[in-house]
Symmetry: C2
């Protein structure tokens, strides 16, 4: 997970005999794309064609579907450029510049602690971002690297007109469903193509894009992954990891697993419910499995044992250095105390402010409208972070997206949230009373969903543009609920930020600087959903005494087909059986250190040519949140050769195949 400015090219040369040049790095970086929703992607043609995972644009496919045209079930292919359909919620970013702003931020927070530290840090971040983002076509983020050891300003080109060009059937993208998720051997075809359109109403012309490799990758090949790993916690203290294991993860796991049970049963009642729920269900199941993997990694004594040793080593170095000792020796205890404060607060924070009490799209929109009305009149630096100038284009896009919202699903998820609120905080809790009054959760949810007009984009636009006056005049019940609970939600957020977040950040930063002082920048910073380059090889692993081979084939997919979901190949594949040689590679495992957010990352060879498309990791990779274990941690990708062949012979996506082959080399 190396940042592009510190890629260890010489080390790669030493171990693999290949040194990527500065041009090579710049070209791959500028060909890389970030999807603002939390995924990676890449330009693969000079006409703005972008490759990513199906699961990265699944909500777009769903938004474009209706009971009559169910693209999630049938897949989608635009035969002509004009057939490409705009994704309501997708924003693509291209990283064009990185600047070190560490000195400015550390200067701004010098000598501060507690909430003052946090306030100063956020204000300076907002200021730097505002200065940088000179127009809506730019997005600027101050990125915290090495837990605050360094701060970089990342400048992106922002593209909001993104259109769907090709998506396979959901059942093929997620072939094997939840049982096969995070497993290998794997036979998913989790690929999709979208296209960035320019403001001129034409496909974007881009100088930087990845060409397709003529030959596919084979076992042992050196390959690179360029993408946006979302988050790791490899520098966390032992107390932080124990808190995750004992408090934070159990809380979220229970929330998700109950949600899963509810959604599965809800979705099973009719085909229409299944259609409108499956994507949400899949993402809940994916989150659940991923977090369970993390919890299991932390529950394994060896991982925490290693962390304890590393912490003792750093502590000894800090104690041995008078200057470090003076600044940093109290950092571990300060973190532990902040976590003690967080322990009784976590559920309250997650339920009132984090969304667990209101898992509803409509409520989310209502809260955004209420807060936008409160925040936007304030000076930029004083706003809640998600309402600062740099965030406004994304906020507008989210509020004004023209995507369907399913009333019935809203009712059940909102009921679920209200029940969680009441049972966790207690029926007598003032916040719960404020939400429910004497209503039953389901009746209230039903009345809110029935009464709200927030389904309507125009109404949302009216409220957004009308500002505080419009919001205060509205009698919309969902908006009224969001207003009613806002003071208490903000209060718990402030308590969390002042007594937990700021302490963890400030002391995490002290430890990060101590670590840099003691060991230098020998490794890469924790993942932060910013662009990184990883190198590795195509390789299997050993598990319970058996060897897992790194490549699966088309023949394997047909052998796994039982005819029953989630092991049912779609008709397109059944009809195409024999058109692609059974020996053609379909998926592959590699040694790259990746994590959630890397989904959709291109995998390239020494020539910078596409040889694969990352879409998953194996079960041991889930512990990668805390530590990378080279023996077993594997990334999982669609093989580039299989991808192109399926596109051609299974889907007959000839326009795209031609576009890709035009630059094949």
């Amino acid at each position: 997970m190396w940042t592009y400015d510190a890629f260890p090219a010489a080390a790669v040369k030493a171990s693999h005999g290949f040194e990527p040049s500065r041009e090579w790095l710049d070209h791959v970086r500028l060909s890389s794309v970030r999807l603002a929703g939390g995924c990676s992607a890449s330009f693969v043609s000079p006409d703005g064609l972008v490759m990513t995972n199906h699961h990265c644009i699944r909500s777009c496919v769903e938004d474009l579907s209706s009971p009559k045209r169910d693209y999630l079930a049938t897949g989608f292919y635009a035969k002509a450029p004009g057939d490409e359909l705009r994704c309501p919620k997708v924003e693509a970013n291209q990283l064009v510049e990185m600047t070190d702003v560490t000195a400015r931020l550390q200067g701004a927070t010098q000598g501060l602690g507690g909430s003052a530290f946090n306030t100063a840090l956020k204000a300076e971040m907002s200021k730097i971002e505002s200065e940088c983002a000179t127009g809506p076509e730019l997005r600027c983020d101050v990125v915290t690297l090495f837990n605050g050891g360094k701060y970089h300003l990342y400048k992106y080109r922002r593209f909001q007109d993104v259109r769907l060009a090709f998506a396979p059937e959901f059942s093929m993208a997620a072939f094997g469903g939840d049982p096969d998720n995070f497993n290998f051997p794997r036979f998913g075809f989790d690929a999709a193509f979208i296209r960035v359109w320019g403001t001129n109403g034409q496909p974007l012309k881009t100088d930087h894009f990845l060409s397709w490799a003529r030959e596919g990758a084979r076992e042992g090949d050196l390959v690179f992954v360029s993408g946006h790993p979302g988050g790791t916690e490899r520098q966390s203290t032992v107390a932080e990891l124990e808190f995750q294991r004992d408090v934070a993860l159990p809380y979220t796991l229970l929330h998700l697993s109950e949600m899963r049970g509810m959604l599965r049963e809800y979705a099973s009642a009719s085909p229409e419910r299944w259609r409108t729920t499956r994507a949400k269900l899949r993402s809940v199941e994916n989150g659940l499995k991923a977090l369970r993997g993390r919890h299991q990694a932390l529950a394994e004594p060896s991982l925490l044992g290693d962390k304890r040793k590393a912490e003792a080593d750093l502590r000894a170095k800090v104690e041995a250095d008078p200057k470090l000792k003076a600044t940093t020796s109290g950092a571990w205890d300060a973190i532990a105390r902040a976590l003690d404060a967080y322990r009784p607060l976590l559920a309250e924070y997650k339920l009132k402010e984090g969304g667990d009490g209101f898992p509803s799209e409509l409520f989310g929109l209502a809260r955004q409208l209420v807060r936008a009305a409160d925040e936007l009149p304030k000076a930029n630096a004083e706003r809640l972070r998600e309402y600062t100038d740099g965030q406004l284009p994304a906020l507008r896009q989210g509020l004004l997206r023209d995507a369907p919202i399913t009333p019935e699903l809203e009712v059940v998820t909102l009921t679920f949230g209200f029940n969680r609120l009441r049972e966790t905080l207690g029926a007598d809790d003032p916040f719960v009373q404020e939400v429910l009054g004497r209503e039953a959760p389901e009746e209230l949810a039903r009345a809110l969903v029935k009464g709200t007009k927030l389904f309507d984009v125009k109404e949302r636009q009216r409220l957004l543009e009308g500002g505080r006056a419009a919001v205060e005049a509205s009698k919309d019940p969902m908006l009224l609920l969001a207003r009613r609970v806002d003071a208490r939600a903000r209060e718990v957020r402030k308590r969390y930020e002042d007594s937990v977040e700021s302490v963890l950040k400030k002391n995490g930063e002290l430890l990060a600087r101590a670590r840099l002082a003691a060991y230098g920048t020998t490794g890469y910073p924790d993942a932060t959903f910013t662009l990184r380059l990883s190198y590795g090889v195509v390789k299997g692993w050993a598990e319970n005494g058996r060897t897992v081979a790194p490549l699966t084939t088309f023949a394997g997919a047909y052998a796994r087909h039982t005819g029953k979901e989630p092991f049912r190949l779609p008709d397109s594949w059944l009809e195409a059986q024999g058109k692609v040689s059974g020996e053609t590679p379909l998926d592959m495992a590699t040694t790259h250190d990746i994590i959630g957010g890397n989904s959709g990352s291109p995998m390239v060879d020494r020539e910078g040519r596409v040889v694969g498309l990352i879409f998953d990791g194996n079960l041991p990779s889930l512990g990668g949140r805390y530590a990378y274990v080279p023996e077993t941690n594997r990334a999982v990708a669609v093989h580039g050769e299989g991808l192109l062949r399926a596109l051609e012979h299974v889907y007959g996506a000839n326009r795209l195949v031609k576009e890709l082959r035009a630059n094949q080399r």
Copy 2:
């Protein structure tokens, strides 16, 4: 949780000025009743009338209900003795004798380890129990006390004709539902009356029963609880507690919370579904909340901190004593190693053998029939423990009960189990393949439930009595499934028993003996679902800076009524408003050290008169599994005064009121 033979009467005298006599103890003991399903109760009249909780006989009320007469919704009251309805699954036991058999068991396992230890222990237990249980009217259990420091033989009179006399509405028994469960102030009326009938077809005549107190208990009063606490783990090693925190509890919590989400959504679809699911749902929710409380107690650093200190102290004492050192100093490591072996085995064991993979009544019956056919021809000592002679009456009762089984609920729970199997063990696992073949979970579940004849008691009787020949000849699909998976299920059970259970038992026993040698029997043994007597006082507690008073009133219940479930008082209570003074106590909190299994325990005063009925504990009491914290741990009971008044003025249960008042003193 004192055993009756070691009750510290002198200590009670010293602290409370009252010393229960031997006669007092014998009388209360013989008035106490155990319900084999996992609850406590008491005789409260000379005619076999038994008081317990509604939730202890909820499954009986459900079994007796149908779409046309829904006793769970309406409550039940038998106006005449002949109207009392037999509970298909309830067995009541009365403890008549206790004998110390420690020497016999420790002699039988002398010098043995691993599976030999386990086998010898089980064989000797079965032998002792067979010798004792000279007829079907007796039940004999060897009880492991002090983790194997002592073994006692408990002899019970067994009553299988138990009839329902009175049950309130479920909504009143569980008033406040899941939100109020384990909370206080509380307003539940979780009481019920059943009656033991003799084999002569008449109500049982009993010399020992508790009379009702004329005056109710008040704050500060000394009171006693006689009941059957189900299980505590207060002597567990730190490694065992960490295993619970990190592995065992998270596994079960996730299982239950997904099940809960599924069942709630399933039940919400129609009144009939709600009727047939609510009791199961309630028990899943209760288990979930209880285990979450346990997990939170273990996640609290102070609890494990205290345990670490206690363990270090015992270790030091063991190391200091050459004899103890020789036998016991390796015990902690042996336990830790067994848990390492259990870690990768736990889910497999729970799914294949423990029932999580087959959460279905029909499958349970099928497995029992298959195993009975295999086990019963063997010598008693060689059988699986639940098929030994002592267990046969309960086995027969379970298999031949005439209770309804809901096909639709069977399909969803079985589907749930099959999905859990596949996702946890993997689609390629041989056991999963053996269960599912190429079928989808739901289709298979549907076919099994549709095809089986095990709904029919006569068919089950035929198979039970026909033995192996009948079982092997059967083409019943559920029976075939149970047969198909039995070898692998037994295999994982054997692996668990040999490599985990027996090591934990043997070394737990060593530690227990070391503890007795080091500290004597200063405390009471861990709870084992055997009769215990607890003393304490009526008392509130302080929580987040506010004081919780120990008594709630009828007026409080009416104030809590919102008209919406689960805060809707039933019509009977609404109509009776004003008939009972609002100041009358309804529920109360006391300091007793109780735990699950104590539900239904009578609470008696110094005169041995009923002053309350235990039905719950507060949230802090959930950590009582591992440690009793006097400041906050509280038991929750229905107040005796409120109980009798509601029976009379809300329910007009005059026959029972007369029966109770006849012996009021």
